[in-house]
């Protein structure tokens, strides 16, 4: 990324879950875990500054608001998204809140609302606000 977070352009964290691609404004992510200790946003700064985080694989968890969102793969942290508002058709047939739609490297994605992540993305029984720690 050429600009620091908060300098104008918005960065988004993209991840894959359930065969779909999802995105969220990076400032909404409180932490990230991968079968180990939580990495808070400050420690993730080098990742935010990389233009693209190569897929790492394995199980991840994103802490977003009060929810924990499991991720199959962290795909990217990027500013290069053309975000379009969700249209009426999507709102009518998908009962979840969405901040927008975009395409990343040929794959469509939904930018979720941090305040109301889709229920299907939220870890079952995990709404603690922090990812689980030290899983093995």
């Amino acid at each position: 990324m050429s600009e620091a977070p908060g300098s104008g352009r918005r960065a988004f964290v993209l991840w894959r879950r359930g065969g779909g691609l999802w995105g969220i404004a990076h400032e909404a992510v409180k932490g990230m875990a991968r079968h180990g200790p939580v990495l808070d946003s400050d420690r993730l700064a080098p990742i935010w500054d990389s233009d693209r985080l190569a897929p790492i694989g394995g199980e991840f968890e994103l802490a977003v608001g009060e929810a924990v969102l499991p991720a199959d793969e962290i795909v990217a942290v990027t500013e290069a998204l053309q975000v379009r508002p969700p249209g009426a058709a999507l709102r009518r047939y998908w009962p979840e809140a969405a901040c927008g739609l975009a395409v990343h490297q040929g794959s469509p994605l939904v930018l979720i609302d941090p305040a109301a992540p889709p229920r299907a993305l939220v870890a079952a029984g995990a709404e603690s606000g922090e990812p689980s720690h030290d899983r093995t």
């Binding site: 359930g18 065969g19 779909g20 053309q82 249209g87 058709a89 395409v103 469509p108």
Partner: protein, 174 residues
């Protein structure tokens, strides 16, 4: 490749708000609709609203969506919600399509229309479909006879409209 209806009366009391036959001589009318197969129905989409027809696009389903929303696709670098036309018109399931298509069309009321994909089993032809009287405001505006076939005329402007009672699109029953 426009083909016209015969102007015959329906041979059965088909359900729906209207059933119109093309007037004699309608073969000289310009094509007005794209006919597509959706399940066991033939649907007519206003040609002015159709932007393009492509081979069925790869889809990314959205968990928790209504069955009518098949998923998101990418077309020309833009995200595109793709809806199941057969479910929208409540068509009985047909045989497996051999050449399924996605019809990219403008939908919704004029002031906030949007591009959507409509998954259909096949694109058939463009044809003249006689104007229908104003109907009840459902997704299927009415029925018409085109070349002896009953076609369901789709009102794409109704696609984004809120459903009565908060449910799915307001197609009439089978």
């Amino acid at each position: 490749m426009s083909r016209a209806g015969r102007g015959s009366e329906p041979h059965a009391a088909a359900p729906g708000p209207a059933l119109q036959g093309a007037a004699p001589g309608a073969g000289k009318q310009s094509a007005s609709h794209l006919l597509v197969r959706a399940g066991e129905y033939i649907c007519a989409l206003p040609i002015a609203d159709v932007r393009r027809v492509v081979r069925a696009l790869p889809l990314h389903p959205l968990p928790g969506s209504a069955p009518e929303l098949k998923g998101l696709a990418e077309l020309g670098g833009d995200p595109l919600p793709v809806l199941d036309l057969a479910l929208l018109v409540r068509a009985p399931q047909g045989t497996n399509p051999t050449y399924p298509v996605t019809v990219v069309a403008w939908a919704g009321p004029p002031e906030e229309r949007e591009l959507v994909g409509l998954a259909a089993d096949a694109a058939l032809e463009v044809a003249y479909v006689p104007p229908l009287p104003a109907a009840g405001g459902g997704f299927v505006a009415g029925e018409a006879l085109v070349a002896g076939r009953v076609v369901r005329v789709v009102d794409l402007a109704m696609l984004g409209a809120p459903a009565a009672g908060g449910g799915s699109a307001g197609a009439h029953g089978r």
